[in-house]
Amino acid sequence: MTLARARLICLAVFVLALLAVPYVLPAFGATFWVNIVAEILIWSLLAASVNLLLGFTGLLSFGQALYFGFGMYGVALSINNWDVGFLPALVIGIAAASAMAFVTGIFAVRLTWHYFAIITVVFSLIFYFAAMSTKWLTGGDDGLSFSPPPVIEIGDFSLTLADTTAQYYVILVIVAVAFALKALVVNSPLGLNFKAVRENDRRAALIGINVFRTRLAAFVIAGALAGTSGALFAFFGRYASASYMFYHVSGEAIVWAVVGGSGALLGPLFGTGALIVFRELASNFWENYLLAVGAITILVVMFAPRGIAGAWNDMLLALTARGGRSATTAIATAEPAGDAPDHAPTRSNADG
């Protein structure tokens, strides 16, 4: 079978597994884990925002927690102060995060390399401190609680987040849509521009690409992804807290993105999933499991810089490879921080 088909099958299995979670896990007596998977899905969007910037556009942002925070507070504040419904609150959260990404991006994207990373931290710190000190608005460290409105209300029927299963599916659908949109963008002409700028920004300008606008577009889309994550997080936890805007949260998202595979589309899901599952399992019998997380981070960068997704792709490639030697060598020599090719190389379609 071809690599493309193998990947499609894996994707289908993966999606089916996610769909089955609320029914399968409780059968094993692990109802608690349904919420964990929901949490993984939510946080994976934050990792996806890092992944879009780092893996696809070549920008390392250490401040995505800022847009997460805007998404989170967008939801909490609009529900508390204006009593809006579920969908409007979600939209407000995402819009607030995107707008913030646009405004900060105009400045941040002018810088490159380490200076970009530094200024993203600085911006996120400024707003973290601002959020902490305006307790009357944000609840500071203690945070702001709210009761989430029903998701859909048609006549007598209402779908609320109070039901674990319903909540899980709502989150799954939104996250799936977000990833689907990200996949579209990444494989679109705009996405190709992102990759060109990542590979060689001088060459990109010399073929007519407005590098500043391209990077800004990536930054705003990443902000929207982070904002969606924050908005969902607010709904999930029924609360918002300034402590989630601290740079440590941004750092964790980077770790998830890198461990999962920074150049791969679903890398963030794998990384977030692996590390949160690890956290849940390890923290039960080892209080200092963070030591392992730190070690894993370092080891992944040292030995497997293309992360879980990269290793997975390599395995699939090895299993499905037939002929087409130049393509194989070409993929094998691809830069680690670049992406695993997101379209299968042509090879002889020997059999199905």
Partner: protein
Amino acid sequence: MADLALRLSGVTKRFGGLVAVDDVTIDFPGGQLNAIIGPNGAGKTTLFNLITGETPADAGRIEFAGKDIARLKPHEIVRRGVSRTLQIKSVFGGLTVVDNIRAAVLTHRRIMAPFRLVSSFASVSARTDELIEEVGLTGHHQTLASALSYGDVALLEMALALAAEPKLLLLDEPICGMGPQETERAVAMIKRIAKRVDVILIEHDMEVVFDIADFIMVMAQGGILATGTATEIASNLDVQEAYLGSPEDELAC
């Protein structure tokens, strides 16, 4: 192709105390293959950088198609019809040959379409295939640019430059580092392209320059030393002296 490929008036660039490009004023005729030659450090590549907007000029006008492009950004200049290749061949290493060229074609056609797949643009794919044929990279569609041989990278870079459908093509040492066979191929391609696009090339290989160039400008120490046809330049004493100062191997790129 215009009567006038490019007009420079008093173009100057200083780096601290060093004058890299010194009050250069020249008209590059259209419809011809123009060359810029000169010893190392003469300011040739800096001049190119000024024309493409990658380095801001301190003074002077750079007129292309009737407009002064001296203060424009590089991508704006490309969009007006000036393309360039670099001395150290520069492409998108982590992307396949097809994606490299597609990026250039899509940009030229101003297609951003964030929610449509790249593969859905049939005319872009067709144009990409055309360009791959033209530069001679047939069969390498799915090869990663970083896996190409040096000569093939140069061809790819040429395809990228051509994708923008330029009216003026700047080639910075296009045959640098090539063996005799690759050189022949490259020179033939340049001659072919020069029939429909204005070309200015920087080159060190005198044989090639005297063979293909209609108009030659000699630079030395940031300024123009001489201009003329190949025969005129070959017999110019000042030019010979400028080159006598530099040993043979320093002329290699």
